[in-house]
Subunit: 235 residues, 2 copies
Amino acid sequence: MKNIIIASTSTLHGGSYLDYILPTLESHFKNCKSILFIPYARPSGISHDEYTAKVALAFASISISVKGIHEFENPEDAIKNAEGIFTGGGNTFLLVTQLYKNNIMQLLAETVKNGTPYLGTSAGSNICGLSMQTTNDMPIIYPPSFQTLGLIPFNLNPHYLDPDTQSLHMGETRETRIKEFHAFNSIPVLGLREGSWLEVKGDKITLKGSLKARLFTKNNNPEELETESDLSDLK
Amino acid sequence: MKNIIIASTSTLHGGSYLDYILPTLESHFKNCKSILFIPYARPSGISHDEYTAKVALAFASISISVKGIHEFENPEDAIKNAEGIFTGGGNTFLLVTQLYKNNIMQLLAETVKNGTPYLGTSAGSNICGLSMQTTNDMPIIYPPSFQTLGLIPFNLNPHYLDPDTQSLHMGETRETRIKEFHAFNSIPVLGLREGSWLEVKGDKITLKGSLKARLFTKNNNPEELETESDLSDLK
C-alpha cells in the first residue's frame, strides 16, 4: 500500500530545514531506523555528501539515521533494501537525469508503489507526478525523458506562487506558465503552496497543511481547494 | 555581417506591445518592407494567426508588413527569402521543438549570421544564445535538443529578475537557478532586465537600453554591467 508524503518545500520562511513537518515525518517513518536519501537534485550545486549531511542533521532530531544513495555501490540494491526513502529538492532536470542514468526511475516507482514509505520535497515531489513538465526549474541538463514516477495520476507545481499584483515585472506568472502547459497537455496540475503537502495512503490522496492549494485543469478556471480535500479521484 | 537585436521583453509594464523599442526597430529594419514572423512560442497558448496579427499591428505603425512563417508552404524558403526576421516570446521549449521539427534551426542560424536583420524578444532572444538552458520557461514539451542558434557566444536569461528581499517565498531565486546552471556548465549567462537589449553588429555586441545587466560567470561573483558595455569578448 502506498505511503507517501509529497511536500511543496523543505523549508518555510524563518524556519529551519524540515522543521515544520518533522512531527508528521516522525509518524510517517515510525517503522524506520534509517532512511535512504536521494541527493541528486543538488540545490545550488552542493555536493551529495554536503546535502546528505544536512538531511542527516534534521532527521537526527527524530532519531532516524540517513544514508545517501551515492554511498552505496549499487543504487538499485540501496532502493530495494531501504526502510524508507527521501528525495530532496534542488534541480528537477538534474534529479531526473540522474535517476535515469542510474537506471532506477522505474525501480523507485515500483518500490514506493509496493509500500516503502517515501518523502519528497520540491524536486523530490515534482517527480511523484506523471511528468516533470510543470517544474519551475531551469533546464541545466538534458534528461533522457520528462516522464517521472507517476505515484499520483496528475502533475504538481511545488512552491506554487500567486501572482504579485504589485509587481511591474512582465515575465509570465506561474499561472500563465501552467496555462501554456495545458495548451498541449490535459494532465491536471496541482499548485502546492509552501507549507502544504499531499498525504498518499494507498489510493487515498489528501491535501494537508494549513493552506489551500490551487488546482488547474485544462479549459477550466483554476480552483482553490481547502486543506483536507480528498484528491483521490483527480486525474 | 550580423545585424541583430536581442531584447529581454516585448512589453514594458504600462506600455503596449513593442512600443518602447519601435524607434530602434524602425532603424534596424529600415531596408525591409516586410518581415517574417516566427510565432512558434505561442505565449499563453495563443494561435499562430492571433500572435501574428498582434505583431502585424505593432509593425504597421512603422510601415512594415508582417507574415507568419506558418502561412508559407515551405518554412525553409520563407527564411531564405525573408527581408528581416522576428521571433517572438512565449514558451522556449515549444519554440525550440518547432524549430527542430521544421528542420530550420540551422538554416535560421546561418541566415542571420549571413546578415538578414533579426529581432528576438524573450524566448526569441533565448534562442540566440548557445543553448536554451537558462530559460525561465516550463518544459511543457520535450525538445530534441537544448542547443540553439549560437548567434552570440554565451547564454541569456531574459526577463532577469532581482531577488525580492521582502519575499517570504523559499523557492529558488533566479540567481540561485543560474548558479545551479554553472555547477554543470561554464558558459557565461547574461541576465537581461526588462527594457534592456543587445545590439549585435558583426562581431560587436553592445548592451543597450537604460538599465544595467547582470553577468554570471562560473566560480565568480555576479557583476553589474553598465548600459553601452561592449560584450564582444565575452565567452
